[in-house]
Symmetry: D2
Subunit: 234 residues, 4 copies
């Protein structure tokens, strides 16, 4: 069970945002549910709760916990900022960087990726299109998650509505840096969307409302996991 806490691909990474369904005690329950599905299906599922929920969740589950953001700072006078060391110390294994709802300046993405590497956090840089994904790849993050912002939260899956964004991102990123793991996100709500994403060359998905706001998140997570398993078996 120890390796449950390790990040493996393919991965389903669930962004809790600031949804009521994924805040405080609800966040803990959802993380426990994700852990259960992860064990049952044998697929890596990571969760990205709010900062204040990281330590509680990291103590309660053995699946990988991510921060939603870190600041490109170190110890010192940075009131109100998110210190990479603190996030790591609270039990996170990785962090989103530059999510479309928390975009950063280019030099700060570079510095945040560097800081993540220094403290041992897996960096997942979010991007909005192919050129920006290629650009991010040059900064050598561990993962890139491409999400066309116009599809986020719509239920229109990037893997079906804009498959060319996914395939061109995979191609452009791998050309610059073949070591980067590529995820995609936006609008993913069912197993078919997930399977399509994997078939297009990604190694996982970044998902939020599709799971967090689903009527039955447990069922949807299982559906996602099984879709990945089906693609893998081919």
């Amino acid at each position: 069970m120890a390796e449950l806490s390790k990040v493996r691909t393919p991965i389903i990474l669930v962004n809790f945002k600031t949804y009521a369904e994924a805040t405080g005690e609800n966040a803990v329950k959802l993380a426990e549910m994700a852990e259960k599905v992860s064990i049952e299906a044998g697929i890596c599922i990571g969760v990205a709760p709010q900062f204040v929920d990281i330590s509680t969740i990291a103590k309660r589950v053995s699946i990988p916990v991510f921060a939603q953001h870190i600041d490109p700072i170190g110890y010192g006078s940075f009131t109100g900022h998110v210190l990479p060391e603190s996030v790591k110390c609270a039990g996170a294994v990785g962090t989103l960087i530059n999510h479309s709802e928390r975009r950063l300046k280019l030099a700060d993405i570079d510095a945040a990726v560097t800081r993540a590497r220094e403290v041992g956090l897996i960096s997942v840089v979010c991007t909005n299109n192919t050129p920006v994904s290629a650009s991010a790849a040059a900064l050598k993050p561990d993962m890139i998650a491409v999400e066309p912002p116009e599809l986020i939260g719509t239920g229109i899956p990037v893997s079906k509505a804009k498959p060319e964004v996914v395939t061109s991102t995979v191609e452009a990123v791998k050309k610059i840096n073949p070591d980067v793991t590529i995820l995609c996100g936006a609008g993913i709500t069912n197993g078919d969307d997930v399977a399509a994403a994997i078939r297009l060359g990604t190694e996982g998905i970044l998902v939020a409302s599709g799971i967090v706001r689903a009527k039955d998140p447990y069922k949807v997570m299982h559906e996602f996991a099984e879709a990945i398993l089906r693609v893998q078996q081919r």
Copy 2:
């Protein structure tokens, strides 16, 4: 002892920033030390740790815990932001807003103060001079902490180097909103600085390095608390 958790004035509010001495386990120890001094001296001492440390500290101590920042948002799609409800739910009783290291747009300070009020968090708006303090007072926060940024971290106390900033702030703020509690900060390192601040009409201090980075924070907190008691006894 129950009332220990309540915010009373005069108050010593300790900003942990992202100092190594006040991160993770160090943050818990420092908060426990603050609680000890608060009980021994009978003076209200609040602590403002990093977001990820709030819940752990709030469970371990009964003194008031503040966030260092909240975002002017509600439940929803705000990845990487600090939700007021989460901070409250994690055990904080209040929050700094607009610290000089995390300045906000005017409309966002207004919205953050409103959100703090809605969820039951005490709002402490930080300001950099007298006009900005007056401006903040019009937004009806619970407290205003004036800190000339050029003195922060210098060891040159605002209460001695710029007493006129403190007195003119007290006057300007009270004229616009007599209900606001006024703190001052920047450069405060010993009991005399604290006593001077109280004599100038403030109801407490906002302090960071003066305590966090002191050789003996326990001793310095006692010195601060006793300085307040001496002024009160006159």
Copy 3:
């Protein structure tokens, strides 16, 4: 005619934004049209073109020209920023500050108002509601323009849809600083809206699409000016 260039109240202040109808040569034509109406109707009309159009327009018309924004900076190393001295030198007599499409941090609004005063530019701080207007008043700008952002560009006039925002703003601002000139804006498209704004206690309006994107801006400006004259004659 010399006094045409002076800012007098009541004033119609036309924000050119980055509308195609008010960029480059179109901006010059629109400013000349505004000057014509100003002379014919005897009402002060100011124009706020883009930065690059200020000098050309200021040379061609004698009505007051405003910048849309200034940065709170002085001479020095501020690449890509808008220096108050440059704007003044190019012929502007005033500037918008903190427009809802270019919001500033509180400390920067304070610094920008101070800088405007230092170089002799009339400061017009834009605000989004009554508390923020009161807050801005404490910074002692020359004018405050309250514009509920949700009405901007809608054609639903603030003076009719939210008259209480206007009256409470007038009351709150005058209480803090009786010397501030109050304008209102958002959704104003005809003379009735303008008359309503003046009757609610403002001394002018800030308008953009209502004039810039009108089929016949000349006619609309005349309608606005005459509405003001009618209210004044009562």
Copy 4:
């Protein structure tokens, strides 16, 4: 002489920032001086004045004029922003993007480069180190100007103090996009620094205080131009 207005490499690009010596009438004089040196030495010299000075300067000189920044926007409701079309229409042939004093979010750099291309402006993306330069190269700008921010304004030339930053940037950028012209900047004050920059593989320099604040800018520009000619003749 017509081709004077065209951007050719090697290029000396002079950033006027908001220096008093390069504002308003001083900016025009400095631009005319740059034009004189450009003609006399036969080297391309571009100038990047403040927004409000672009149109006046572009009318007076035939050398290339650059904006210091553009916003990634189009025609519409963007009060206080810098419209690429306006800058072009005022006579600029190019623009700096992401200068260290005006850093942008990654997605906005991408959008600004795209907008520059759409309106026919040469894009010069400023970067602070090698990974960020590589990252910028993936966005396909026309030029990249690498400037270690810690050296800007110091008089310690990047080409001598950190030659490896320049050579590794040239290598990394060319690998991702061989079509990008590479400039370097920061601390360049004499001909030797310029010659060193060219020898390291750049096609020009971005310079500010080294020329603008020189006692005799005319003489320094000539020295820079001749240093380039000497390197070319070898």
